[in-house]
Symmetry: C2
Subunit: 248 residues, 2 copies
C-alpha cells in the first residue's frame, strides 16, 4: 500500500494546477508507462501491479522508487476506470526553444478543448515528424492524463509548447506561411504544399478564433463530395498534413 502522502500527491496530479505546481504529470497504463521508461523523460516514481513488475522487471530503471500494489489500489490512484498494469509520476520535460526552422512544419492548436483530440493530434504530429505542437492556453492540457493516453506514447517524442496563440503568431518572422482550414479556402488537392511554416487547427464547433484567423496567410479547403458539414479536427488535420507531406 502506498503512503497517504504518495496517494495525495498522485491524486493532486489529476489536476492541471498541481501538475504545474509540482512540475510533474501522470502516465497511466502499461503501454504508456513502458514508452515513458524507454524515453528521455525523467520518471519520479512507479506504482505497478505484481504482474507488471514481474513481466517488465528488466525495464524498471535503477534509482526510481517502485511500489507494488493491488489492481484495486492502482485503479483508485488512477483516472482510468480500471488500471491493472502501471502508473508513473514523471517530470514535465523542459521546454526546448520554439523557433520555426526552414523546411519544418509546426502544428498550432487554437482552443481545441477535448483532450482526446489534442492527444490524437500530438500522435499525428509524431507520425509525420513535425517540429512540434503549439497549444493555445485554452486548449486541453497536453499533460492531462486523458491527453497523454490519447497520444499512444507520442508524448515522449513530440515537443509541445503552450502559448497565447495570437501574440505568438503575430511575432513570427515575416514571410513564414501560416495555414488554416477554411470551408472557403483553396482546394488542397490543387496545391503543391510543402511542410514549412505553421498549420493552425481550431475547435470543431467554433473554428478558429478571430485574432488567430487574422494571422493566416493561406486558407486551405478539403474538398468533400457528400453532405457532411464538417470533419472532426483530428481527421481534418490528418488530411491536411498528408497533403503537406505527399510531395516530399
Amino acid at each position: 500500500m502506498v503512503s497517504k502522502a504518495v496517494a495525495k500527491y498522485v491524486h493532486a496530479l489529476h489536476l492541471k494546477k498541481y501538475r504545474l505546481r509540482h512540475g510533474a504529470f501522470l502516465v497511466e497504463g502499461g503501454k504508456s508507462v513502458r514508452e515513458l521508461l524507454s524515453s528521455g523523460i525523467l520518471t519520479e516514481r512507479l506504482i505497478v501491479t505484481a504482474e507488471f513488475a514481474g513481466k517488465f522487471a528488466a525495464e524498471l530503471p535503477p534509482g526510481v522508487p517502485v511500489e507494488v500494489v493491488t489492481e484495486e489500489e492502482l485503479t483508485r490512484l488512477s483516472t482510468l476506470s480500471t488500471n491493472n498494469t502501471a502508473l508513473a509520476v514523471a517530470r514535465l520535460p523542459a521546454e526546448i526553444p520554439l523557433q520555426p526552422a526552414p523546411n519544418q512544419l509546426l502544428l498550432a492548436l487554437d482552443e481545441v478543448r477535448d483532450p482526446g483530440n489534442v492527444g490524437t493530434l500530438i500522435r499525428l504530429a509524431d507520425w509525420y515528424g513535425l517540429a512540434g505542437v503549439v497549444c493555445s492556453e485554452t486548449c486541453a492540457d497536453p499533460w492531462a492524463p486523458k491527453t497523454v493516453a490519447a497520444t499512444m506514447g507520442s508524448f515522449t517524442r513530440v515537443p509541445v509548447w503552450q502559448r497565447p496563440l495570437p501574440a505568438w503568431l503575430a511575432a513570427l518572422p515575416a514571410g513564414l506561411p501560416v495555414y488554416g482550414a477554411d470551408l472557403h479556402g483553396d482546394n488542397v488537392h490543387r496545391l503543391r504544399l510543402r511542410p514549412h511554416g505553421v498549420l493552425v487547427m481550431g475547435s470543431e464547433s467554433h473554428g478558429l478564433t478571430p485574432p488567430v484567423e487574422a494571422c493566416l496567410t493561406q486558407r486551405l479547403h478539403i474538398p468533400g463530395r457528400g453532405q457532411a458539414e464538417s470533419l472532426n479536427v483530428a481527421v481534418s488535420a490528418a488530411i491536411l498534413l498528408d497533403n503537406f507531406y505527399r510531395n516530399e
Copy 2:
C-alpha cells in the same frame, strides 16, 4: 412527466438487443434531433425541454407525439451526462440493397469496437460521398447512441449495413478491388487511386482479422516520417479516402 411505459421503452433502447427487437433507436441532443427531423427517417416520439419545443416549434412534425419534460427528466432518460434539449425515438431505416456499383467506393469496418470511431467513420463517409459503410457484426453497433452522436448527423444520410465481413467480401464480383491499410503496403502517395471497390479498415489494436485480410487485392501504406507506430483508425481512413478522392 413521461409514463412509466415510455420511460421503460426509452431505457430499453439504450441496448442493442432491444433496438433490434423494437426496430427503433435513440437520437439524443438538439443538433442530432433536428437532423433527424429534416431527414427521411421516421420519428416515433419526441421528448424535449420547453425551451427546445419553443425554439423549434416549426420543425416538430405533425402526427408525432411530443412530450415536454424538465432537463432533469430528459437527462435521466438519456445516455448523455446531461441533455437539456431533446431526445427522439426513431425507426431503424430499412436497408437498401448492398450492391457495389461502378465508380463507387464502399467503406467496410472489421471489428472496429469503439462507437466514437464508428461514428466518425460514418461522418467521413458522408463527407466524401461514399456509397455507404459495411460493418462487421463485431463492430460497435452503428445505431448505438454514442455512435449516432459521433456521426454528427451523418447517420441520416449514409447507408449502413451489418454483415459477416469475410463471407460478404468473398462473394464480391471478381475483379472488384478490395483495399486495406498495411504498414508494408504500397505507398499511397505514389498511386493514382480511384474511388471504386471496397476500402476495409480494421481495429487499431489488432488490425484486420486474418479471414478479412485474405480477401484484400491491394495493401495501402500511408508514409510517415516520425516514430509513431500507428494512427487512429478514423485518422488513417481519412487520409486514405482523401487519396482516393483527390484525383476525381
